[in-house]
Symmetry: none
Amino acid sequence: MGTRSAEARDGRKADRPRKGQLTRGRLLEAAFEVIGRKGYAAATMDEIAQAAGVSKGVAYYHFKNKAEIASTVLTEAIDQLVALFEQVRSQGGSAHGILTGMLSVFATMIYEKRALAQFATSEMWLGGGSMSEAVHDQLMRIVDLVCEQIERGQADGSVRTDIDASFQAVSIIGMVAADALYALGAEGAADAGKETFVARVVGYAGRASAA
Amino acid sequence: MGTRSAEARDGRKADRPRKGQLTRGRLLEAAFEVIGRKGYAAATMDEIAQAAGVSKGVAYYHFKNKAEIASTVLTEAIDQLVALFEQVRSQGGSAHGILTGMLSVFATMIYEKRALAQFATSEMWLGGGSMSEAVHDQLMRIVDLVCEQIERGQADGSVRTDIDASFQAVSIIGMVAADALYALGAEGAADAGKETFVARVVGYAGRASAA
Amino acid sequence: MGTRSAEARDGRKADRPRKGQLTRGRLLEAAFEVIGRKGYAAATMDEIAQAAGVSKGVAYYHFKNKAEIASTVLTEAIDQLVALFEQVRSQGGSAHGILTGMLSVFATMIYEKRALAQFATSEMWLGGGSMSEAVHDQLMRIVDLVCEQIERGQADGSVRTDIDASFQAVSIIGMVAADALYALGAEGAADAGKETFVARVVGYAGRASAA
Amino acid sequence: MGTRSAEARDGRKADRPRKGQLTRGRLLEAAFEVIGRKGYAAATMDEIAQAAGVSKGVAYYHFKNKAEIASTVLTEAIDQLVALFEQVRSQGGSAHGILTGMLSVFATMIYEKRALAQFATSEMWLGGGSMSEAVHDQLMRIVDLVCEQIERGQADGSVRTDIDASFQAVSIIGMVAADALYALGAEGAADAGKETFVARVVGYAGRASAA
DNA sequence: GATGAATGAGGGTTCATTCAT
DNA sequence: AATGAATGAACCCTCATTCAT
């Protein structure tokens, strides 16, 4: 005991990441891993706490209940993804270029955080679940950003107009998700590497919506 | 205990599949409905038995456990779908024509049995779950049939060859599933009707793989 | 095992007390004892089930939750008391005579089922508890029956009229309850015996309301 | 650890009861309110600390545990009541006069601090609980003071002698408590006002013990 | 004195599964 | 074949209590 070094050294007590925040972060990581691996229903708070290296009680100190920890995990990840999407958008360019960039970002994230994709997708199907509401809302943020670009593309003639923009957005996202599921499910496929995976997904999906 | 089976059965072999098979069928229907509505994990044997109008104990007379009843439901449905696919294939025609027919059949089934699609998809993501093994095997039967036609199309030049056939097959199926999820999730979308839904999905997906 | 004698002997299978009813009864008895001894909050379903000689799960087969088992215990006891009160009333006589009879019955029951009295009283104070609603409703049935006789007494001039009948009813019941608590709390007092206890309570309380 | 108390305290003994005593007082008030509203078992240290506007840890700095904070609340209130009783007694007068004064004081306090009455009464029934011991001891102080006057009345012939003095004391107190519960439980009854309530209780109870 | 964080022992409840009848 | 009843293992969650700072 007595390792209060950090703030003592530089005296910035105020913005020192409190110990609690560290634990909270560890819990989120653990929840991400466990839920991704076993699904929301099969994941237990016991296992999450254990994976985080803390007692079960502390999980309930930081999060109201299991649903909250799960939706926090998801929201934080989607926040990252949305930020990346917006970054792609802010760099400007044609609708097709931005779309390609978004899909690339999306596929990359699925590739890297497959567990989250599993969690989000599986919970999203459930109509009346406790989680489904929050999951759905989060995922719609992604769909909307994709949809926006497809509409731009429809306006400038680079994307086919015979199908609803939102329909196309959902199709592309579903396609990418399914590809990821398949590519990652086949364990041997992983060796192809991220770049190959992303390139294939983007190349294929990009073609589907061309005008 | 209970060894009066053999001779007793022989005595009325002809009319045996009466009560037992009826009950079994009712249980499968109930399981299909409940699991589709709440997901595998949240579905309880109690609710399934109650929905079937029988006692809980009888469910364990007909099925070994919860996993078995669920995978039986799935297998029977996939059997139907496979049969339809093979029927489409047996009518011959171009790869594109057969593919279109299969997607049409697939989209129709999702539209009509959305609960099953939900069940299959959500469980499939789970890597180590009890169900996932069986679900995966079943769904691969579908993928393989689609893949077969894509390979035919690649051979005759009607389908792009720059992407693995299996990759394309998975993409198309994922796309259709996502579309269904979205179209059926939006309650207002249901009024568009089955034909509109199927046409849109097939039209869009068919384009993605064109050479 | 194999003691299916009763119904076998006389063949009245229909009204044989099912095994489940026996268990249910045992659970109620156990709940009565445990809750009476430790209070509602401190009583655990584990202990109740164990006292009943069954597993914890079966308690939830017969009762929806802890509150239900507790309020069932209480309701059944109050039912008995109400039946006794009504029996006293049906025998006719002066208001004073009936009141005396009722108090006698009431004091006797408290004396014999002190645990229940403890439970009922302690829970009744709590305003917003889960139990309090049901407990209050049950106890009011007793108050009403006493009140009815006090009003009769007021009508015929044998009971003072300067105080609300309901107020007097409550006072008398509170008095008896407090006496019981005191008499039974002092362990040495138990030796005075039931008759002495009842006589004292009735004699004292009966005087308080005389005109 | 923490042995700097003695000399540190001595250094500023005069102005010591500053922050610490204030916090302690706030905790007691909060505990009084919360326990009164939800009962001892359902009250949580969290809620008490929050109601006091301090952290949970500080409650354990001032009180050993939950039982201590509760019994302190009770003891302080009973201390007040005892002081009032003794004040009534010190003013002299007939046994009947003093008794009336005591009941008036008692009824008034119940009326004003109903939450405390609830707490005391409900916990008192519990035989082996953690609280019951302390509660019982405190309440007996009240009973003894009432009993003392009843014995005086029995000596001078103003109170009936056919019933134990202690029995009568308990009866009267129980009566008042029950009346308070009833009067305060019926929300509409509150409008009658404190004076009416006290007068009724005293008038009724005073009569019960008259010789 | 005070705080936030952590602990860990249960408690209520659910549910897949089994079994006697 | 079928039923009602029973079991027991978890699971989610709460909360009194402790501790480092």
